[in-house]
């Protein structure tokens, strides 16, 4: 039975002419709110990017071999998705394929940085901000003034949404206006969005992103194996088996990752001479880089152990009883009945741990890596040291988001699938 969401007097459709007017008023309010946000937020951003595009060699960017290959692959992928009747995916892929070169061109056009400042300070941008604030105030007054009189739930929600969008537009618009008049946009853009100073750093940032992903993937995969092992020990009915696992888990969860990195590298590697250099074929990995991987595995193992322990304990006791009643040993029951179910349940928390680890790999900045091992953050920090310009940090943030946002999306998708009952257990 669903919880009744409707009150007895609630209707879906307006009936009298007066009610029809109220419903139209609500739609108008929502439109006002949307327009206000579009002006206050979208206006200045589009004007700045537009200035970049106008000054850029858009045709040249699209005509470059890399962009053409990108477009062919992207649009081909979109066509493939469309042919398999996945239209939303197809549209998203196609839009990404076209928009990335456009954005790249827009950024290229924002050199020198003063072009962005001028666009932001232009009259057009001022009008957009003022207009956004004015429309926002109108939406707030209209929505909050009349929402109580709306005859249908839908109209009521539209009126409220319009008013809230109005608030958001006013807040952003006023912030922009205050920044224009009281702040120092020139200095801000120079230090945070200086595309010119980043020119030619694409290669090192890409290398940084690859190193970040390598460190995180190695740490996570190793940590999952170690974590499952520790969880099984921590779940033993014998205290003498549990104790060492608990000590390990609590130690690695209880000390800072930066402390662990420092002790393992400066203490063990440099101090005691236990140098974990690794040669895989033609690739030579420095002691600092390998030590970082080992520490990430050890650390993630401790957190992973707690995730697995919770997952295994969440499996109904009847499952173990059923397996053992069939003559399986405790080990067989764990391996074939309990752990496979637990693994499905811990996928979302493990992915979350992975997202956290991706960001935590930035702590390798304390180790003094060789340039070829720089992660995203170290790359940015080195760039900043050389130029005293924080735009490198902005670029690093974009790099982290490119990696983490799809993962966060994957976590939510997996959770939704698990919740939708793909692997539900009848009770």
């Amino acid at each position: 039975m669903t919880i009744a969401s409707s009150r007895p007097g609630q209707r879906d459709l307006a009936e009298t002419p007066q009610e029809v007017r109220e419903v139209q008023f609500a739609i108008t309010t929502l439109g006002l709110g949307v327009a206000a946000v579009a002006l206050a937020v979208g206006g200045p951003v589009l004007i700045v990017l537009g200035a970049g595009l106008a000054a850029s060699d858009l045709f040249g960017v699209f005509a470059s071999p890399v962009a053409l290959m990108w477009l062919v692959v992207g649009l081909g992928g979109a066509g493939l998705a469309f042919s398999r009747d996945r239209r939303v995916v197809a549209i998203a892929v196609a839009a990404t394929a076209v928009m990335v070169p456009v954005i790249v061109a827009g950024f290229q056009g924002l050199v020198p940085y003063s072009r962005a400042v001028n666009a932001f300070m232009s009259t057009g941008s001022l009008i957009a901000m003022l207009g956004g604030v004015a429309l926002g105030v109108a939406a707030i007054l209209a929505g909050f003034g009349r929402y109580g009189r709306m005859p249908t739930k839908r109209a009521r929600e539209q009126a409220i949404a319009g008013a809230v969008l109005g608030i958001e537009a006013v807040v952003v618009g006023l912030t922009f206006l205050a920044f224009r008049t009281l702040g120092d946009p020139d200095r801000f853009v120079f230090h945070f969005f200086n595309v010119g100073i980043l020119e030619g750093t694409g290669g090192v940032f890409l290398r940084g992103a690859i190193n970040t992903v390598i460190l995180a993937v190695v740490g996570e995969l190793g940590g999952i194996v170690l974590g499952l092992l520790l969880a099984l020990l921590a779940l033993s009915k014998r205290a003498v088996v549990r104790a060492p696992a608990r000590v390990y888990i609590n130690f690695f969860r209880g000390t800072p990752l930066i402390w662990q990195l420092s002790v393992f590298y400066f203490g063990f590697s440099l101090g005691l001479g236990i140098r974990l250099e690794l040669t895989i074929g033609p690739v030579q990995l420095s002691a600092a880089y390998v030590t970082a991987m080992v520490v990430f595995i050890l650390n993630t193992g401790a957190y992973g152990a707690e995730v697995f322990r919770a997952g295994i304990q969440s499996i109904e006791r009847g499952q173990m009883e059923a397996a053992q009643s069939l003559g399986m040993t405790y080990g067989q029951a764990m391996r074939f009945a309990i752990v496979p179910q637990a693994v499905r349940r811990v996928i979302p928390p493990l992915l979350n741990e992975f997202v956290i680890l991706i960001k935590d790999t930035s702590l390798v900045v304390v180790l003094g890596l060789f340039p070829e091992n720089y992660d995203l953050f170290t790359t940015a920090r080195e760039g900043y040291s050389a130029t005293f310009n924080a735009s490198f940090f902005t670029a690093a943030a974009l790099g982290y988001l490119v990696v983490t946002l799809p993962l966060i999306g994957a976590v939510n998708a997996v959770e939704k699938r698990l919740r939708s009952g793909l692997v539900t257990v009848t009770t």
Partner: protein, 244 residues
């Protein structure tokens, strides 16, 4: 009379301060269908679960044939393969199909090869009337179908005794009969069974022996007919007057 398959001697069970079983002595002969009834909280399920040592007795001894299960030197896993049990909550493995639920133990415990395990699993599914659902996951089956798969899973081990722990209590009323029918057929085929149930019709018609349990003690032990028609104990009379 042949030797009992299952024997309990002076079994006591404490859960903390709660004295659930207060000295149970019981022998189950081959081909007997022992039905255990009694008010809730009387220790019926605990008694049943003590037979395959899912509950370890606090005191007393449990035997299967000549093996003492309460002896720590006994390999419980080996003995349990001969003691099938079916639970109220089915406890099928939700990540395995009906067929795989059955073949898992055939493979891992009995060491049958794939083909033999599949053959035996299909045969048992057919036996309980759900062969057409072999490739369905438990979540795609009705309660009655799940419980019949669970029975097939236990039977595939070729147990010498089958234990049933309130197997119809979690089922919708219209699904109960299909499970009871399977159990009745098993009894007719000569399976030794111990059945904890609230189904009095089943107790009367299928049971060859009835135990009435109350507050951890066996109050009556005899022919179902006699106990139903002439309950000589006041507690038993009271129980019947409430449920019949």
């Amino acid at each position: 009379m042949s030797a009992p398959l299952v024997r309990l001697e002076g079994v006591h069970k404490w859960f903390g301060d709660l004295h659930v079983l207060k000295g149970i002595d019981l022998g189950v002969e081959p081909k007997e269908v022992v039905v255990v009834i009694g008010p809730s909280g009387s220790g019926k399920s605990t008694l049943l679960r003590t037979i395959n040592l899912l509950e370890e007795p606090t005191a007393g001894r449990v035997f299967f044939e000549d093996t003492e299960l309460t002896d720590v030197r006994t390999n419980l896993n080996r003995v349990r393969a001969h003691l099938g049990i079916v639970f109220q909550a089915f406890n099928l493995f939700p990540h395995k199909t009906a067929l795989q639920n059955i073949t898992m133990a055939l493979d891992k415990v009995l060491g049958l090869d794939d083909e033999e395990a599949r053959r035996r699993a299909t045969q048992e599914l057919d036996h309980v009337g759900v062969a057409h659902k072999a490739d369905a996951y438990p979540g795609q089956l009705s309660g009655g179908q799940q419980q019949r798969v669970a029975i097939a899973r236990a039977l595939a081990m070729r147990p010498k005794v089958m234990l049933f722990d309130e197997v119809t209590s979690a089922l919708d009323p219209e699904l109960i009969q299909e499970v009871l029918d399977v159990m009745k057929r098993l009894a007719d085929e000569g399976m030794t069974m111990v059945v904890v149930t609230h189904e009095m019709g089943f107790a009367r018609t299928v049971g060859t022996r009835l135990l009435f349990l109350d507050e951890g003690r066996i109050l009556a032990d005899g022919q179902p007919r006699d106990i139903f028609h002439n309950p000589d104990n006041e507690r038993i009379q009271q129980f019947f007057s409430r449920i019949l």
